[in-house]
Symmetry: C2
């Protein structure tokens, strides 16, 4: 299902990732400014979004529409829909980015490294020898879990510092940025990629 006609806002954790349609200030920190859309695919229960800081080309995320932290919080229908979406979007990004394999990873809970308390599966398209310069195939995990892959850090930095939400997360032990790190890519680049992937998904078989 494409996003045409979709009006309900979509949140990744506490971050709005679809265009802001309201003229009143949102009640929680925003990630994207008005008219920017990070979401490129939506099913009845799940959505797919591009990354602020992809660690490899085509690194995307799949989440349930409902904002819950753990896989065990999902209903069976949400679980099925989420992973059918992972399979479908994975097939698409593998094709579009000329890859031959995929890493799929879920940090299900804070002690597993989860930085945004909203279920999300990372999909990372892989090619032969793509990370030889970083130490080999499995370097992807260091990248995914190091500062360069930390979505929570990236989102929170981008949202402008220590908001109430940030302070709350800090107190809950979620990693929060306080320093240097690689510059996230521009919103424009991200929105253009989402638009391209939205088109690709329109031609993707449902099963």
């Amino acid at each position: 299902m494409a996003l045409k006609g979709a009006t309900a806002p979509i949140y990744f954790g506490s971050f709005l990732v679809t265009p802001q349609v309201s003229t009143t200030p949102p009640p929680i920190p925003n990630f994207l400014p008005p008219n920017k859309n990070q979401v490129f695919y939506k099913t009845p229960l799940s959505f797919a979004l591009v990354n602020l800081k992809p660690i490899l080309p085509g690194h995307v995320l799949i989440s349930p529409l409902r904002v819950v932290p753990r896989l065990s919080d999902l209903t069976p229908s949400e679980t099925s829909d989420l992973f059918l979406t992972v399979r479908r979007v994975g097939r698409m990004v593998e094709r579009v980015y000329g890859a031959a394999s995929l890493n799929i990873a879920i940090q299900d809970g804070v002690h597993a490294g989860q930085s945004v308390p909203h279920v999300h599966a990372h999909i990372l398209p892989r090619k032969a020898k793509d990370l030889d310069h970083r130490g080999g195939t499995d370097a992807v995990y260091d990248m995914l879990n190091g500062k360069e892959g930390d979505i929570g850090r990236a989102l929170l930095r981008d949202s402008g510092g220590a908001t109430e939400e940030t302070r709350r997360k800090r107190s809950e032990g979620f990693p929060v940025p306080d320093d240097e790190e690689r510059k996230p890519r521009g919103e424009e680049e991200m929105v253009v990629e989402a638009e391209m992937l939205r088109g690709e998904m329109e031609g993707e078989p449902i099963d």
Copy 2:
């Protein structure tokens, strides 16, 4: 669904992981000797097995019964069943091993680090500070992907060296053991754990 009455052999890749019932030699290398059962849970389309070399207590694997290498090879029904099983078994191992989070990882294809060409999701129960002595939460990935977590290596070494299958894999670029490495745990310990987990799954809600 428990394993009572189950008679069909289950293979993880080319390795038989249920008791060998035939008196004639099997056509492909065996992993477990007769009357050993590594499988602790089975659904109509998926199964769960304990690990020869768990990298953390409760590290188990979930696979489709059908031996195919890629997620994209699965039917929608197989995909749903696989991940409903991941969710169900994950909830159980988190409880049984006193954990508070889970890492879930799939190496979907050889260029993503897959060592046994049969779809499998790793489930790793996580606790607060459980890997601080190894460098922190995300050390799990180094362990999962280093020699100590390599299921293909462990299985192939255990099966007795360079069989035809091993040579075939070698030629296809799958990692194959040829050296040292940590000793895998004993079959008895693995079988006892599988028996314990089989009992736990009998009390686990289906959804």
